[in-house]
Symmetry: C2
Subunit: 233 residues, 2 copies
């Protein structure tokens, strides 16, 4: 039931993707799937799928494969999305509202209990049934509503201070969209979503793709040139 020894970060990172594909299989009405078939769909090796899943126990059956529905619920359990998580959003700008409006989060057990902002013009507004509050009420609200997770969608300048307040108020995890790293105690989880870093990685890949294209084009040209001269000679 409890997770045995330390599972590698790479495995955890892949689990949600398995979960997504299993959900799609269920929608397609597929009842069972072999690691080989899933491997073809997901473009990972069948070996990796079996290895990954076996970190948590044997969910398959020799000669049969995996039962889609069973595996789906098991992964949900492993990820902890079969339980309810109370969540607040700090920063009610576009990003905060985007998160508030994504209904699927609630399907996965992430209940948005409140939103907070310092902008007086936003305070009092209601987004998807959730009222935007002033940041002063933060600590009390966290305790009263048993909030475990805070999404931090505020500018980086305010982030460290708010993070400290969240930690002191007993928050268990911070979903950090601020463009900075946070210093928190070891037992507080920080999951970073650094969009600017993601965009830079994309930039790198675009540029190296471009470089490769140019290199190949040059190579081709050189080859053709050599051939031409060969014909002339």
């Amino acid at each position: 039931m409890a997770d045995q020894r330390q599972i590698s970060k790479a495995v955890i990172a892949r689990l949600p993707r398995y979960y997504r594909y299993l959900g799609e299989l269920m929608e397609e009405g597929i009842e069972r799937i072999s690691s080989n078939e899933l491997s073809a769909r997901m473009k990972v090796t069948a070996s990796q799928i079996r290895q990954d899943l076996n970190n948590f126990g044997g969910f398959g059956q020799q000669g049969y494969g995996y039962n889609v529905k069973y595996l789906y619920t098991e992964i949900a359990r492993i990820l902890g999305i079969d339980r309810q998580h109370n969540l607040i959003i700090i920063g009610a700008g576009n990003l905060g509202q985007a998160i508030a409006n994504y209904t699927n989060f609630e399907k996965r057990g992430f209940m948005i209990k409140g939103m907070f902002d310092i902008n007086p013009r936003l305070i009092g507004l209601v987004v998807r049934g959730v009222e935007i509050r002033g940041i002063d009420d933060l600590e009390q609200f966290i305790v009263e509503n048993e909030v475990q997770i805070a999404a931090l969608t505020i500018p980086k300048s305010k982030a460290p201070e708010i993070a400290d307040r969240l930690v002191k108020a007993g928050i268990k995890a911070i979903w950090n969209f601020a463009h900075t790293d946070l210093n928190v105690p070891d037992d507080v989880v920080v999951e970073n979503v650094h969009l600017s870093e993601s965009l830079m990685r994309l930039s790198y890949r675009v540029c190296s793709m471009q470089d490769e294209r140019e290199r190949k084009a040059k190579e081709k040209l050189a080859k053709e040139n050599a051939k031409m001269h060969g014909q002339e000679a």
Copy 2:
């Protein structure tokens, strides 16, 4: 000048973080830094820093360390953020607008040329000087404005169809926020930002932290119990 052999994905993933820290060092007015000092700040090994940077050439100097400003501009060059990238945003909801409103992207050379949506009530609105257009104009706009990158902030149901249109129109990269994987040719870059997967990873980590806490508490209790009985005997 051109990147030599294939650099590992892990190294690329770390570059933007180096860039961020170097930017902060510059703001603090620090001119030079050793791999050891940087290692302490960033909480990675000095060895890894030197190894990473040396993939792209020797930016440091023995006995001195690294010149912050020089390294900063070199990493910018490697990441390709010293050049201009023309970008469009498809999907002008909260997430699309959040991206449009993040001014730092433009500082890094990402120019938001246009926004698109199917919602007629959004079409014609202007976000940060960028007009929201109907999706019909997509192909023509991409060609006329030499758009290289498209941020896809639309529901997953529409994503594959739009991705196809983008590819046919000659887009070089897709920054994909839709909750699905995209099938594109090998020479089109896809950088995924799957927020729901990020939140599930956070969920896993919160739960296993909780498990660990409980395990430790139980252990402690057992030990204390044993001690008590020892005293009694």
